[in-house]
């Protein structure tokens, strides 16, 4: 049976907004992440100082941008999905997922930096068709819009909890509450605002996936014009977002002291979604592979060699195995799917797979990037990471995690107001000779 919310409202207020996170483990993590972030930023500065050429050196940076888009920035759509479906299982998971929107503060400057390193765009095969300002201006607008939407989403969903923190006499958080009081009108507006901002975020996120996958990958590779890549990117990113959320939930339980709030139900529901997305990953990969393989056209055979079977065969095998095969084989079994450890292990595996996939696409693209009209040439060997690339790979996710931890000092990892509402609408009742969970869904 579903694990029903059992913590009283007063206890929940004490646990979640009584005091901000702290302690040796927290500050230790902040310190380590800050050091890694600084190292990553320094590596980017060194790369930028060296100019745009050779473009291959930007491959891992582009891969990290895509990785952030496919993990941290892909988590809020999961929260939106649970809100849209009015799934009770999603309530403790929503804030954990929404908070990752702060990753936009890392992704936006990173994308702008990469846009300045793109080769000449005139007459290049792209979705823009020589539109003025494309791609730089519009891609930048998109990612800045996404960042602002994400921050607005975090802020609006956090308003009632900031007010609760204010009432718990926490001055810094209280100032941000803007005098919120829980009148009926404000709750109605909040509900509408959360859904509208969530929808806006998802649309912008989908659009940013489209432009990043086309402008920073496809348009750079001679002869690559696969229409399935943007949706493939969205689907694999959503899979990464679910995996990121599962891992964050596991950390919240283990080190955040939130075992009473984050239960098996969240892991079970997210694991089911992860299983579906693993199958969809296979489906989109298969669409591209089969269409290219079947026609036996030299242009397409070259692309298969570059992206799947020769140059980047190792990242492809890792991506396919870890995003599709292994999660499928694990999550097919209900005991694993419904188990917190099982879901967490599967999520960790998927994250590694997503990283491998982004390395495959973006490092390959920047390695072969060149002037418009250049032919496909010989297949190059895989471009391996150097020290600067490793620092960027470590530093950028560290920056996102650092911002996440700092944000937790303002808003709790589990939404207090949504938890309290869930408690009103989900009850356990005696039914003849058994106990049942009863779930209300007001319109």
């Amino acid at each position: 049976m579903a694990e029903l919310p059992t913590v009283t409202p007063r206890e929940a207020a004490h646990d979640l907004v009584g005091r901000p996170p702290g302690g040796a483990a927290y500050w230790g993590a902040v310190l380590v992440l800050a050091i890694l972030t600084a190292a990553g930023v320094a590596a980017l500065v060194v790369l930028a100082a060296g100019g745009a050429e050779p473009r291959a050196k930007w491959g891992y940076t582009a891969a990290m941008l895509a990785f952030l888009l496919s993990t941290a920035l892909a988590a809020p759509p999961l929260a939106f999905t649970s809100r849209l479906a009015r799934g009770y299982w999603g309530i403790p998971l929503r804030r954990v997922a929404d908070l990752f929107a702060v990753g936009g503060l890392v992704a936006a400057p990173l994308l702008v930096l990469l846009l300045t390193q793109l080769p000449d765009w005139r007459d290049r095969p792209s979705i823009w068709l020589n539109w003025p300002g494309a791609p730089g201006l519009w891609d930048a607008v998109a990612v800045i819009g996404l960042t602002l939407a994400g921050l607005a989403l975090v802020y609006v969903t956090g308003l009632p909890d900031l007010a609760a923190a204010r009432d718990a006499r926490r001055a810094r958080a209280g100032g941000l509450a803007l005098g919120w009081t829980g009148t009926l009108r404000r709750w109605d507006v909040l509900d509408l605002g959360v859904k509208a901002l969530g929808a806006l975020y998802v649309l912008l996120w989908g659009f940013v996936n489209l432009v990043v996958s086309t402008d920073l990958a496809m348009s750079l590779v001679p002869g690559w014009q696969s229409a399935v890549i943007p949706p493939y990117h969205v689907v694999s990113a959503f899979e990464g977002g679910i995996a990121t959320t599962i891992l964050a939930l596991a950390v919240a339980r283990r080190w955040g002291g939130l075992e009473r709030y984050v239960t098996r139900d969240q892991f079970h529901a997210a694991a089911k979604l992860l299983l579906s997305l693993a199958l969809l990953f296979f489906y989109f990969t298969w669409c591209e592979f089969l269409t290219y393989w079947y026609g036996r056209q030299p242009r397409e055979q070259w692309l298969l060699g570059l992206l799947m079977f020769r140059s980047y065969v190792v990242p492809f095998a890792l991506a396919f195995g870890l995003c599709c095969v292994v999660p499928f084989l694990l999550l097919l079994w209900n005991p694993i799917r419904g188990n917190i450890k099982g879901a967490t292990v599967a999520a960790a595996i998927v994250l590694v797979g997503v990283l491998a996939d982004r390395v495959r696409m973006y490092v390959a693209a920047w390695q072969v990037a060149g002037p418009v009209g250049q032919g496909q040439g010989d297949l190059p060997p895989m471009h391996l990471p150097g020290l600067l690339d490793v620092l960027v790979v470590l530093g950028m996710p560290a920056a996102v995690l650092l911002l996440y931890l700092l944000a937790l000092r303002l808003v709790p990892a589990v939404s207090l107001w949504e938890y309290r509402r869930d408690r009103l609408l989900r009850v356990e009742r005696e039914y003849i000779r058994t106990k049942v969970a009863v779930i209300a869904k007001p319109s």
Binding site: A2, L84, A85, P125, S126, I127, L129, L203, G206, G223, Q225, S226, A227, V228, I229, P230, P231, L279, Y283, F284, C287, E288, L290, T291, Y292, Y294, G295, Q297, L424, L425, V427, R429, Y431, V436, A437, V438, I439, A440, K441, P442, S443
Partner: protein
């Protein structure tokens, strides 16, 4: 559901078995009209067999035309049925109860209609068996599994079999009710079909578990079937068809048209079988919101197909889009497609009042399917059209002939006729599912308000 009513089992049996056990006059009229149209369909196919495909508007290069459009269209219609039923069953959505079976049955008859068209299209229907059936009829030649056209029979047989089994398992408890409510020959037929189902806890638990398992199994099949249909086109290196996105584009288009078809079916059944208490305005509200979400997905894929057609500025691909956008009558058809499938429905689906307006939802669903039919037509015919200038022929470009219009109308009559006959013989709304909804319905007190709730098993 906010609008649910407390209904006794006896009331439910009476309402939902009424049409099965008693025959109103309109049934005979409808069956007569549909039967005539189906006869016209069969007759037309007979004429094609007798006189050959010269009766059609085929040209030297445009040989995949209206029949293949029908094939894709009807496979698409069949999709949402199973998708709605399976996904809603897996997510335990309460609002699924009255609509799952009509959606599944629509899927079956749409698929049967779809499967006829590749056969009709070949001209000599029976020879398809030699070519597609996995048996060496002559000269040691077996089907070539490397051909995308051979994947189709495997997919359609799997999907049809799976859907039929899905429907039968779901129907078992209702066959038991029909057995208990009927006499004479009908009683014996229902008794045989009910297989002795008597409603023990074990049988119910297996019923629910089998429903979940079959739903989980049929969902990947639903994705694969229309993808395989799409690969009939995508595997060819014909510009305009050879695109990696065709498979998911077809699937999302199928969902878009299929959900609209389910809405059409729900409204017709509600009207003629007096099912207002079961198919409520809340159902249309919810399905309208589903259509909104699907709309966004369909728009995304439609735009991807458009943008990536022009992405590499390949001259042939560009000329296909020029044909679609600038040359009549194709550009007029494209305009109608975008208007009916995309532009017209959207603002209405955003409005809760409009979603709860049954007449409006009916016409919107028709509009979507008009647009989706044209979408398939444009997608199938126009890439072949660009070859026309290079063919040494005096024939004009493809234009459908009278017989093709008759077969088109006949195909809609065929699917409708199948659905009508099914609804006459078996309850089209699951009695046991509706009764379970009554058992599970609860209320939760929040302050002064009693909020509708349901038991979550």
């Amino acid at each position: 559901m906010q609008e649910r009513q407390a209904l006794s089992a006896r009331r439910i049996d009476h309402d939902l078995l009424g049409f099965v056990l008693h025959t109103p006059l309109w049934f005979w009229i409808a069956a007569g009209v549909l039967g005539l149209l189906v006869s016209a369909f069969v007759g037309s196919v007979g004429l094609l067999v007798l006189f050959g495909l010269q009766l059609l508007g085929y040209t030297n290069v445009q040989y995949w035309t209206i029949f293949i459009t029908h094939f894709v269209f009807w496979v698409g219609i069949s999709h949402a049925g199973v998708m709605i039923s399976a996904i809603l069953r897996l997510t335990q959505a309460e609002w699924r109860r009255p609509i799952t079976r009509c959606a599944e049955v629509l899927a079956i008859f749409s698929l049967i209609t779809a499967a006829m068209f590749p056969l009709i299209h070949t001209g000599r229907l029976w020879r398809t068996a030699y070519w597609a059936f996995p048996y060496d009829f002559t000269r040691g030649i077996w089907p070539d599994v490397r051909s995308a056209l051979i994947w189709d029979p495997s997919a359609i047989v799997t999907y049809l079999t799976g859907t039929a089994l899905f429907v039968f398992v779901d129907l078992l408890p209702d066959l038991a009710v029909a057995r208990d409510r009927s006499t004479g020959l009908r009683h014996h037929v229902y008794r045989a079909l009910a297989l002795g189902f008597h409603g023990s806890a074990r049988q119910w638990r297996l019923q629910l578990t089998a429903g979940i398992l079959l739903s989980a199994l049929i969902l990947p099949v639903f994705v694969s079937v229309h993808s395989i249909v799409a690969w009939d086109f995508a595997m060819a290196i014909q510009p305009g068809w050879h695109s990696t996105i065709l498979a998911p584009y077809f699937v999302i288009g199928a969902v878009h048209s299929g959900v609209a078809a389910v809405v059409t079916t729900m409204i017709i059944l509600r009207r003629f079988l007096h099912l207002d208490k079961y198919i409520t305005l809340q159902h249309f509200d919810t399905i309208g919101r589903l259509q909104l979400v699907v709309w966004f997905g369909y728009l995304f894929f439609f735009l991807m197909d458009f943008y990536f057609g022009l992405f590499a500025r390949d001259p042939v691909e560009v000329s296909i889009w020029e044909l679609r956008l600038t040359q009549p009558p194709t550009n007029i058809l494209l305009f109608i497609q975008v208007l009916t499938a995309l532009i017209i429905p959207l603002p209405f689906w955003f409005s809760r009042r409009c979603r709860r307006n049954v007449s409006l939802m009916f016409w919107l669903s028709i509009s979507v399917n008009v647009g989706m039919f044209l979408e398939r037509y444009i997608l199938v015919v126009t890439p072949l059209s660009v070859k026309q200038p290079f063919v040494y022929t005096w024939s004009p470009p493809y234009q459908p002939q009278v017989i093709e219009y008759v077969i088109t109308i006949g195909s809609f009559a065929l699917a409708s006729f199948g659905l009508l006959l099914f609804a006459k013989v078996f309850p089209i709304i699951p009695l046991w599912d509706v009764k379970e909804g009554q058992v599970n319905s609860q209320e939760v007190q929040v302050g002064r308000r009693e909020v509708p709730a349901a038991i979550h098993d």
